[in-house]
Amino acid sequence: MLDFHKNHKLLVGTALFGFLMLSTFVALVPAFQIQQTQPLPSMETFSEEELKGLHIYVQENCMSCHTQQVRNIEMDNTWGKRPSIPSDYYYSKQRQDLWRQSPSLLGSERTGPDLTNVGQRQSGMDWHLLHLYNPRIVVKESIMPSYPWLFDIKEESKIRDTDHLVPVPQEFLNSSTKKVVASQKALDLVAYLQSLKQAEMPKNSSVSFIPSSKENESVDDSGEELLPDGENLYMNNCAACHQADGSGLSGAFPPLAGSTIVNDENPETLIRIIMEGYDARPEYGVMAGFQETLSDEEITAIVNHERSSWGNAADAVTIDEVKEIRSFVNSLK
């Protein structure tokens, strides 16, 4: 009966049939099942621009360095306010066209940051354009490639009103008379990146992180509530634009070192800018608000870091002041 070593038909047939059965169990059935997942009610379809941007994202194979999955472990809390769920991928992971399949957005390497929530974290268009033109303009240590082919270099005289100028510092340009203009492709890609925000979960859903056991212990030891590390938070949330040394980037992002707003005795303006965003000065890019992403403790820690670093020497703020301003900001809505 079981003469596999003499009967090649039986041998090959059994091996292929067995493999097919196992594959059905472990790949086909779960794939069919999970494909039925519906999107969250709060999710929106892509605009045409964003969809084109997604295709450029795939064309440049950004997935080889950037993941788009917030795992359900606490260390991934940096990348999103909740773990990713299958619904999150309903619109982004559709077949692209006849030739190309659904993009592998989840990724397997985090050589660069996770992008699940990058639209929330990094909302400024100018930042994205500068970063795509040459990442080292905004993050000195970055090893991401530059994408100059998504931009046009034009003589100053030939620039039209409709062109989107990118405020590239002179040291990153060869010619002093030429300017960098974002092509439609770059604008599409940025539109896609800006659209990357975690959708709100419906109420009474149970998807959340359990706080790490380690932090709980540290609270127990000291007996009092500790503020999170302000420098870390600053590096994660602010340094991409304002730079690690608070020097900003001329023509794009204002410096915080020596800033009158940061050093103001009354921290209200500073805290409100962090919460609500800022677009009052035309020479700088737009800043988006962080009231959704940062807690009161985190904002307090960041403000205190900014007010005590790089030569700044203003008084520390308390968490109660921040809470007060937040309730005031909420009352304006």
């Binding site: 596999f4 070593h5 003499k6 090649h8 090959v12 091996a15 292929l16 067995g18 493999f19 196992l22 594959s23 169990f25 472990v26 790949a27 794939a31 999970i34 494909q35 997942t37 795939v58 064309q59 440049e60 194979n61 950004c62 997935m63 080889s64 360095c65 999955q69 795992r71 359900n72 472990i73 260390m75 940096t78 990713s84 299958p86 999150d88 991928y89 992971k93 030739w99 190309r100 399949q101 659904s102 993009p103 592998s104 989840l106 397997s108 390497e109 985090r110 990442p135 080292r136 240590e141 970055s142 090893i143 490639p145 530059s146 359990i210 790490s212 056991s213 590390d229 870390n232 340094a239």
Partner: protein, 619 residues
């Protein structure tokens, strides 16, 4: 800590309520004792094994001389001699002593050397003449005295398959080396066709589908005909497949560089029309192999052919499942991606290469495989366990938790086929350890087999949830994939190429070049692997501690430099290998003169006949 208890309770809950838990959060583990976690200790132990083996190879070479002095036969001879003396009678002893007296008083005349006497090798026993009879560094390697008479068509085809593979190896690793340098100098170029995202799949696909696949199939053709004791079913089909596969990799490379990408899923970046070329090549090859086995002239199917046929058949199914679109929207694609990328490695490269070892290892040692049954056990468990573990690439992801658990459990189960295979190979080698220092093929086999155990076992440990905390998404993955695709597959393929090419072409590579190839590849791989493992671990720990992301980029810089250094050594070794390949295949000796044996009349192939040139025995 309580972590383990916690896992157990989690596992228990998940086992019973799979639906409730699809995105259960898990707290960070306590990392203060990370060094003591079983996954990490296991990995370190495994790496140490490789180091020990390397040292072992070196010491074996050095001690070969001393062990010979102390060998048992030597002692036995002395005892025998003593006994013979005791048994001798007086006249015999006198004769011996008289003989000795004459010998001792003999004096040289002074003109023995430098005389005009002619040196004559009347029996043709001198294979080579050297002016340094005692090389102080390494043992003189054995020449391979037998040549295997192979039909010209088969020989030509194998040469071309391996030749194309060598090209893709050099091309693919050149790209890999360039990518490695980009981690240190990201501004090396700003050309879209050479940007990191586009080139990365060029590297992986070229070495997968170009180098490893073509080399495997080429070497497989020899195994399948030889062990079926028949000629190949169709040379024509084999050539069609050669063209299809090569053009698939060439076109795919151009498409990827121009930005035409199937969607970034690893190892299926070629769009389907390009992959289809390769798939047709695979189907032709499978049909050809199958028919050759079906027309075999012996009763049994040798265990190698189980693996070759299994590998080909499974991979065809795999590629079809990987490219069909009906279930690949949303996370359906991700389920398939985990399945596809892992089975690409496991069912194709690993399975097929194991089949090659089952033939080339015993034939290089000139003895049978240790156990046929172990090979069969490993075959079925390979199919059962390997197929189920793809999702371990997505631990803690939004994929169903039960699927992740199945993957982790069966990843541990992979130890069964791995231990069965390793035992089989090592037991086959047992008793022939001294051959290692005398052969340029066996060190490649030994490294490949040891890495088979180490790389696979380490992969099982890496699938655990704790190790995923630290290593997932870091450069450790890159180290693991090079440890396996390079340490196992590539080293074994090299061993097979060096084992078979000289025998079918009659031209041996220069030993010093093979030695340099071996050591540069080995040391390079080790530098590559260890640097990324250490760096990847530090990166993961920095993430767990919640440090800013950019710090993990900065801390990786020295490790990326070491990776590039290791990569350079590996790349140079590939150039040496390419040189050796051309040396082995160029300017071949003419096929032997007996017309009966030449050609497809395979039944007479085993006939022994004298080689007119040097009177070695030719099979």
């Amino acid at each position: 800590m309580n972590i383990r208890k916690f896992y157990f309770s989690l596992l228990a809950i998940f086992a019973f309520f799979p639906k409730v838990v699809f995105a259960q959060p898990t707290p960070n583990p306590d990392t203060s004792n990370w060094l003591a976690s079983p996954g990490i200790i296991g990995t370190i132990l495994l790496i140490v094994i490789v180091l020990v083996i390397a040292i072992f190879i070196l010491t074996v070479k050095a001690s070969a001389y001393f062990t010979q002095l102390q060998s048992r036969t030597e002692r036995n001879k002395k005892i025998e001699f003593g006994e013979r003396l005791l048994e001798m009678d007086k006249t015999e002893i006198d004769t011996v002593l008289e003989k000795r007296r004459k010998a001792v008083s003999y004096r040289l005349s002074g003109d023995e050397l430098g005389s005009n006497l002619e040196v004559d090798d009347s029996r043709g026993v001198v294979a080579a003449i050297t002016h340094e009879p005692s090389n102080p560094l390494v043992d003189e390697k054995k020449k391979s005295p037998i040549t295997i008479d192979t039909p010209f068509q088969l020989k030509k085809m194998i040469t071309w398959y391996i030749g194309a593979a060598v090209f893709w190896l050099v091309f693919g690793t050149l790209i890999g080396q360039y990518l490695g340098l980009k981690f240190i100098w990201p501004e090396m170029d700003t050309i879209s066709w050479l940007s990191f995202g586009r080139l990365r799949p060029v590297h992986t696909n070229a070495v997968f589908w170009g180098w490893a696949s073509l080399a495997m199939i080429g070497l497989g053709y020899f195994v399948i005909t030889r062990t079926s004791n028949t000629k190949l079913y169709s040379y024509k089909l084999a050539w069609y497949a050669w063209w299809l596969m090569n053009s698939s990799v060439a076109i795919g490379t151009l498409f990827l560089m121009s930005g035409i990408n199937n969607g970034g899923g690893e190892y299926r970046e070629y769009i389907w029309p390009v992959a289809l070329l390769f798939a047709i090549g695979m189907v032709l090859t499978f049909y050809n192999f199958y028919q050759t086995v079906a027309h075999r002239k012996i009763d049994e199917i040798y265990v190698s052919n189980w693996y070759l046929l299994g590998g080909l058949g499974w991979t065809i199914i795999l590629v079809i499942i990987g490219y069909l679109p009906m279930y690949q929207d949303g996370l359906g694609e991700t389920v398939i991606q985990g399945y596809y990328m892992h089975q690409g490695v496991g069912m194709w490269f690993m399975t097929f290469t194991l089949g090659l070892i089952y033939y080339y290892l015993p034939s290089s040692l000139n003895k049978p495989i240790y156990s046929y049954s172990l090979g069969v056990l490993a075959f079925w468990t390979q199919m059962l366990f390997y197929t189920l573990i793809g999702t371990h690439h997505f631990v803690f992801s939004p994929l169903p938790w039960w699927l992740q658990t199945v993957a982790i459990v069966f990843s541990a189960g992979m130890l069964i086929p791995v231990v069965a295979g390793t035992t089989n190979f090592l037991m086959t080698m047992r008793g022939s350890w001294n051959e290692i220092s005398k052969s340029y093929v066996l060190p490649f086999f030994l490294v490949g087999v040891v890495f088979y155990f180490v790389g696979s076992a380490q992969g099982s440990l890496q699938a655990f949830r704790f190790t995923n905390f630290i290593w997932h998404f870091t450069d450790f993955n890159v180290a693991h994939s090079h440890m396996t695709m390079y340490g196992i597959i590539t080293f074994i393929l090299w061993a097979c190429v060096y084992a078979i090419l000289p025998k079918i072409t009659g031209r041996e590579p220069k030993q010093i070049m093979v030695g340099m190839h071996f050591w540069m590849a080995f040391i390079g791989l080790f530098a590559y692997m260890v640097s990324l493992m250490v760096g990847g671990t530090m990166k993961g720990l920095s993430w767990i501690e919640g440090k800013p992301f950019i710090e993990s980029v900065i801390l990786m810089q020295p490790f990326w430099l070491w990776r590039a250094i290791g990569g350079t050594l590996m790349f140079i070794s590939h150039l040496l290998f390419a040189y050796n390949f051309f040396y082995m295949t160029g300017n071949q000796r003419k096929p032997m003169l007996n017309p009966k044996i030449n050609g497809p009349d395979m039944e007479n192939r085993e006939t022994i006949y004298p080689d007119p040139k040097n009177k070695t025995v030719t099979f």
